[in-house]
């Protein structure tokens, strides 16, 4: 072999190796903060991660102060936040999933209509909207007219945040399906609606469902829009017209109360566990339902 060629090969191999090492190094550094966060949350959160956390509502600041002085564990939990999050997010799922599916189907099936372009643009706009602005809008649309903070108002805000994510994942998933599925269905003499519901949606289930799960995990931790809408409550509330607590709202409350600040970590830990679980399920679904 030509000696020059060999030399240049060697130097190229050397460069490759160097870049590979750099990439590994940087990835490692990027991971450090993530592990620190996890470590912090787990090491500080596990102390109060007990049955009380899941069965009792937030204690008053006074009770917590007394318990702290006596060296007792904090006499309360975050049941009101757990049920509140379930109520608000559940309602938001109920609103955003059907609406998002329909808009997503519409966009993927009417790619070159003017109105579809407008809807698509608005979807992008909504996706980029700061969550505090969404909170203010929900406040103006729901809290003001109804005259009260409520779980409903909170879920309207979260719906606006979930909607663009569900629309996009539905649209993208359906666009990736081969046209042959649609044509084969229609060639059997079926109606368009029937093809959408019996063929397209089931075929795209994996992608669409993953998108929904990710949207849920995204809004689970939203705080700002809930402050302006659901407000918070120290009792378990299942009435959608009443102020309601939620996990991120509790984290904020605890942070502002020196007597309860311990609970910040346990609540954060629970929220993180929820979000990890959702992401994990989303991954499994995406893999299992690949066609």
């Amino acid at each position: 072999m030509n000696l020059n060629l060999k030399k240049s090969m060697d130097s190229r191999k050397g460069k490759n190796k160097l870049i590979y090492i750099l990439v590994c190094l940087f990835s490692f550094f990027a991971m450090i903060p993530l592990f620190l966060i996890l470590w912090d949350v787990i090491s500080k959160g596990y102390k109060n991660f007990n049955i009380n956390l899941f069965t009792k509502v937030t204690p008053s600041s006074m009770d917590a102060l007394i318990a702290n002085m006596n060296g007792d564990p904090i006499p309360g939990g975050i049941l009101n936040g757990i049920t509140g999050s379930v109520l608000i997010v559940g309602l938001a799922i109920l609103f955003s999933v059907p609406l998002g599916l329909f808009i997503g189907i519409y966009l993927s099936e009417n790619r070159d209509k003017k109105f579809a372009g407008l809807v698509s643009y608005l979807t992008d706009l909504l996706q980029g909207m700061p969550s505090i602005v969404i909170g203010i809008i929900a406040y103006a649309w729901v809290v003001k007219p109804l005259g009260s903070y409520s779980a409903l108002a909170g879920s309207v805000a979260l719906t606006m945040m979930m909607l663009p994510m569900i629309v996009r994942s539905t649209e993208e998933t359906l666009k990736m399906l081969p046209v042959s599925y649609k044509e084969a269905g229609l060639a059997l003499g079926s109606s368009y609606t029937s093809v959408v519901f019996n063929i397209l949606l089931p075929s795209g289930f994996g992608g669409i469902f993953t998108g929904i799960l990710l949207a849920i995990s995204r809004v689970m931790g939203e705080t700002a829009p809930l402050m302006l809408t659901a407000l918070g409550a120290s009792v378990v509330n299942w009435n959608v017209m009443e102020p309601t607590s939620a996990l991120p709202l509790l984290i904020w409350d605890f942070y502002n109360d020196p007597n309860l600040v311990e609970l910040v970590w346990s609540t954060s830990l629970l929220l993180l566990i929820f979000i990890f679980l959702l992401n994990w399920i989303a991954k499994i679904v995406a893999r299992k339902w690949k066609i």
Binding site: A187, L188, S191, N198, I199, I291
Partner: protein, 252 residues
Amino acid sequence: MKPVLQMKDVSVSYTPGTFAVKNVTTDIYPNTITAIMGPSGCGKSTLLRAINRMHDLYANIKTTGEITLKGNNIFNMNSMEVRRLAGMVFQQPNPFPTMSIYENVLAGYKLNGISLKKREKDEIVEQSLQSVALWDEVKDVMSKRGSFLSGGQQQRLCIARTLALKPEILLMDEPTSALDPISTNKIEELLLELKQKFTIIVVTHNMSQAARISDNSMFMYLGELVEHGNTTQMFTKPKNKRTEEYLTGVFG
């Protein structure tokens, strides 16, 4: 005998001013196999898809002329009814990915919201799969996904799915071009069986296939129907010079 399908001055254009199919006029008789041949891009698929009004799905495509199916103008019929009468099999086998083999055969019924008793379902499934000679191969794996089958089996499943609806005519666009010789052979035998009950129009690039299975052949060139006649006659004594050139491999 009366033709089952008649076309009169059928033209199709994808872009205004140009025609992918130009003034095609012809008759197709029942219980025959007609092969459509011609060089790539001559409009074979376009013509075939005009027959079951597949072009309706795309707003830019304009179809003109008259197509009658058993004496009824298809453009005056409901498009869903037209498609049930003129079943279509595509080039790529495309069983529905979320449905089992069993459900795939019944897909037409499910999609059309026709509810059947379990006994009727079983009967249709067995009959349809028998008629595509797939029954013995799949009867023990009915609940498996359609995509579990080999390409040739998938294509036979797709034919069964179409036959299950008992169409009048069967439109097939290069149904064997994605298959190996053995599967191709099976499907050819199958078509010869099926013509007892159905009328078949099949687009093919394979001239020996056309010679083996078809009663009549159509030769298309640049969107026009150049020649349509008895296959043996066309292969031995083509009337048109273009047909002769194509069949002897001068171009194509």
